[in-house]
């Protein structure tokens, strides 16, 4: 039948009565919604769950073969609660998750390659956006690795400032975690409350570092600027009410029966599995292992400070949440002691502008809010790092989601993922 050209009013009756022969749509095309006589080429659909190429590995072949009654569901990459740009292909049986296949790389910048082609100092600004919730820890690891390469001693005041700003950043990160976690479980209020705390802290860190998010503050051999009046007055102001404010924020969720009953028993992980999946940080401590680098492998001035390493044994989402809230209180204790003991002195070690460490290798790790941040630096004697490997805990914890999720309901996917607290900037590097 030739395509009909109609102008103005459509002759509806005529169209209804016209008998259209059954038409087969050739493969790779579809009919236009406006005019069924027009064949349109199918676009290559990137978000089709099944990849348009043969499986590359045994595991991929296994995952993309559907069993009886199973179906695929694509989540992301623009899903609001994936904490970044992450695509997860879920294999579902009814409402139960059978298996997942996270697809990464949407935020990949090739930061390790960029660092190899940059100066030692430029590394700091390159690694900042990896961990955009708690940038200071992502700076801390490579900076200390370079200091080991250079055999440089950091002034004590600089170490105190590092710990002080780092612990503030940890609180900001955990506060945001609380909000996110509740948001992913369906509660809107906590994130509004937690942003009050977070905003206070990023504002005071902005007074100290000049930036709200990507601080670019630590330097090889010290920090970029000394404590200033605005930072100290904001900090003093906030510290005077921080404990009560955080307590009230926490009670908002801790005393909410819907929240606690929903989160307990969800995504349980035992110690052995956690170690097999290389998990660190609060996620490991929630299984009962008191592994915190600040105590197990003390660095900076942490040996001089008094604080506890809270652990829990349940290993479920609620345990991970409660543990982080406990860590906020410990961080407040550390900040108190830092302010109390803050020594005078220089904030930078004496170093030449152009750094040429002797050839060698150094590994350094710090305990961040999400786990162990590591940096493995190799120097070949030039002013550029030969190699810098960045170890980000988010990457490891996102992998563990695949182990925790099977058997849970689809609605729990985001809750479990949020309780492990990955940040996609760090996952994709």
């Amino acid at each position: 039948m030739p395509p009909r050209v109609s102008c103005g009013r459509r002759e509806r009756d005529d169209e209804m009565t016209t008998e259209t022969p059954p038409r087969a749509t050739p493969k790779g095309t579809h009919r236009s919604a406006d005019d069924p006589n027009v064949l349109l080429q199918d676009d290559y659909d990137f978000y089709e769950p099944i990849p348009p190429y043969p499986p590359r590995t045994e595991r991929e072949a296994e995952f993309y073969t559907l069993g009886d009654g199973e179906m695929f569901l694509n989540m992301g990459p623009q899903h609001p609660s994936t904490h970044g740009v992450l695509r997860v292909v879920l294999k579902l049986d009814g409402e139960r998750v059978v298996d997942i296949d996270p697809v990464l790389g949407y935020l990949h910048r090739g930061v390790e390659k960029l660092i190899e082609n940059a100066d030692y100092h430029q590394t700091i600004s390159q690694v900042d956006p990896l961990e955009y919730i708690s940038s200071l820890f992502c700076e801390w690891a490579p900076v200390t690795a370079y200091e080991k390469l250079l055999d440089v001693e950091v002034p004590r005041r600089a170490e105190y400032i590092r710990v002080l700003s780092g612990e503030l950043n940890r609180i900001a990160s955990h506060a945001l975690f609380m909000g996110w976690f509740a948001l992913d479980l369906g509660g809107l209020t906590p994130i509004l409350w937690s942003f009050i705390e977070r905003d206070e802290i990023v504002e005071m860190l902005a007074a100290l570092t000049g930036q709200r998010m990507l601080f670019n503050y630590f330097r090889i051999g010290g920090v970029n600027g000394d404590l200033n009046h605005e930072f100290m007055s904001r900090l003093g102001d906030w510290m005077s009410r921080a404990v009560s404010q955080i307590e009230s924020n926490i009670s908002l969720l801790n005393e909410n029966e819907i929240f606690t009953r929903r989160a307990s028993g969800l995504g349980v992980v035992d110690t052995e599995t956690a170690l097999r999946y290389c998990m660190t940080g609060s996620n490991l401590r929630a299984t009962g292992v008191p592994f915190d680098l600040r105590r197990t492998h003390p660095y900076s001035i942490y040996p001089e400070l008094e604080f506890d390493i809270p652990t829990r044994t349940e290993g479920d989402c609620l345990a991970r949440y409660l543990l982080r809230m406990e860590e906020i209180k410990q961080s407040l204790r550390i900040i108190d002691q830092c302010l109390d003991k803050m020594p005078d002195g220089p904030i930078m070690a004496k170093l030449p502008r152009l750094l040429r460490p002797r050839p060698g290798r150094a590994w350094s790790a710090v305990e961040g809010p999400r786990g162990v941040y590591g940096a493995y630096a190799i120097s070949d004697g030039t002013d550029q790092p030969f190699r810098l490997k960045i170890h980000d805990p988010s990457f490891i914890h996102l992998q563990a989601v695949g182990a925790l999720l099977p058997g849970h309901l689809l609605a729990d996917t985001m809750a479990i993922m949020a309780s492990l607290d990955p940040v996609m900037g760090g996952v994709d590097k």
Binding site: T57, L104, E112, N117, R276, R361, Q384, R387, H391, I396
Partner: protein
């Protein structure tokens, strides 16, 4: 520095170590060949006296002449980080046994190393690209992969030291940039 750990490792792995254990700051370093990876790491993981149950990191390194895979391990039995360097992988066909039988979490780290260096981890059942798209054909962290705006090959190369990338221009003909580390 944990001198006792170095002595223990040297005594335990005498036959497979390539050179003595090196120590600097809070790190102890041993070097082994690709064939011994599974045995050495299993011993480090399982033996109660060593008990290195935590794999902190797995990194690939392209030294310009060979490939290396570097493991960082943590154990409560020592105050040091243990670095196991697997050296001597050929750049043309780097192959190494996987350690996913000990740490399931190494699977993604090995995928990342494969994606960036092309190192094949035999025994990893999901060794596909993780960051780069599936139709990508290069291995970006290899030393013979240059950035698009590589200043070393631009007409203004060498004008300022900060803009110069290290590449074959600095090395002898036919040799890539190497590390002495």
């Amino acid at each position: 520095m944990d001198r006792a750990l170095a002595r223990r490792l040297e005594a335990r792995f005498e036959s497979v170590l390539r050179g003595p254990a090196r120590q600097r700051h809070d790190q102890t370093e041993i070097r082994i060949a690709a064939g011994d990876v599974q045995d050495v790491l299993r011993t480090l993981h399982d033996e109660p006296a060593l008990n290195f149950q935590m794999l902190a990191d797995l990194a690939g390194v392209d030294t310009g002449t060979e490939m290396q895979v570097v493991y960082h391990l943590w154990s409560a039995t020592s105050a040091d980080w243990l670095r196991v360097i697997v050296e001597g992988l050929s750049r043309d066909d780097p192959r190494i046994p996987s350690v996913t039988f000990l740490w399931q979490g190494a699977e993604w780290m090995e995928r990342e190393t494969y994606d960036m260096f092309g190192i094949i981890f035999e025994g990893n059942r999901d060794l596909r690209r993780i960051y780069m798209p599936p139709d990508y054909t290069s291995f970006p962290l290899r030393k013979d992969f240059y950035l698009a705006d590589d200043a070393a090959r631009s007409p203004g190369a060498g004008v300022r030291h900060m803009e110069r990338t290290r590449g074959p221009v600095d090395a002898a003909p036919g040799v890539l940039r190497q590390t002495r580390a």
